[in-house]
């Protein structure tokens, strides 16, 4: 991994068309500005994890599997404890 130290207001360039600028830096987080062509997708890495997870989870299992795990999770009593409506 290439490591580059930058300060607020400084930038790095990736290839000919992508610029990443450090807009703000605090002890807990860094605010970045990214300039990239419209066909380059720029997202937080966690979004990709969420996408992959959703694709894998998008077909809920059959009713018998849900019922089995519902029982293992504590059933109706657990639902009330977790304050689901109904």
């Amino acid at each position: 991994m290439l490591v580059i130290r930058r300060k607020e207001g400084q930038a790095i360039r990736i290839g000919d068309s992508i610029v990443v600028e450090v807009l703000e830096s605090t002890p807990n987080r860094v605010k970045l500005g990214v300039c990239a062509p419209p066909d380059v997708r720029v997202v937080r890495a966690e979004v990709l994890l969420a996408e992959a997870g959703n694709r894998e989870a998008a077909s809920a299992p059959p009713a018998d599997v849900l019922a089995r795990w519902a029982h293992r999770l504590g059933g109706e009593k657990a639902r009330r404890g977790a304050e689901l409506p109904g």
Binding site: R29, A57, A63, L73, A78, E83, P85
Partner: protein, 146 residues
């Protein structure tokens, strides 16, 4: 338009159904902006979020409070706007999407919980970047105290 919960007669019992609008869809399913929350008493505490655009897109979910009692939700400005609420809003439902795989227990996505605002029938999948929650949180069986 808000939809009141209604019962659906079926072999599995009375399934409560209520519709929620996800203005931004959810990651990888951005076109799916309307979901039904299906609550089957036989499957409690697990509920199902079913896309109205394509009912084959169905997510089994469980309350985050049940899976991770110490969980702390952080809602950013954008999520609050999509939910029509502020960050201190009470009464929000926080659900983790479950992934079932053959040969093992399911996992829960605590990194990106589904947050529902029943008062406005709005929903969002809120990515929690700063807390270090896993998208593959192991779901463990509840065991009675001995």
């Amino acid at each position: 338009m808000a939809t009141e919960p209604k019962g659906i007669a079926g072999a599995a019992g009375d399934i409560r159904s209520s519709s929620y609008t996800f203005p931004a869809g959810i990651p990888a399913f951005e076109r799916h902006t309307r979901f039904r929350l299906l609550e089957n008493p036989l499957h409690a505490p697990i509920v199902v979020l079913e896309s109205e655009l394509d009912p084959a897109v169905r997510f089994a979910c469980a309350p985050v409070a049940l899976l991770a009692p110490e969980y702390k939700l952080e809602l950013g400005e954008e999520d609050c706007e999509l939910l029509g609420c502020d960050a201190s809003q009470s009464g929000l439902l926080v659900l983790a999407i479950l992934t079932f795989r053959q040969g093992g227990p399911p996992t829960a996505n605590l990194l990106a919980p589904v947050v529902l605002n029943p008062a406005k029938r709005l929903g969002v999948q809120s990515i929690q970047c700063s807390a270090g929650y896993s998208h593959l949180h192991p779901v463990r069986e509840e065991r009675p105290c001995s």
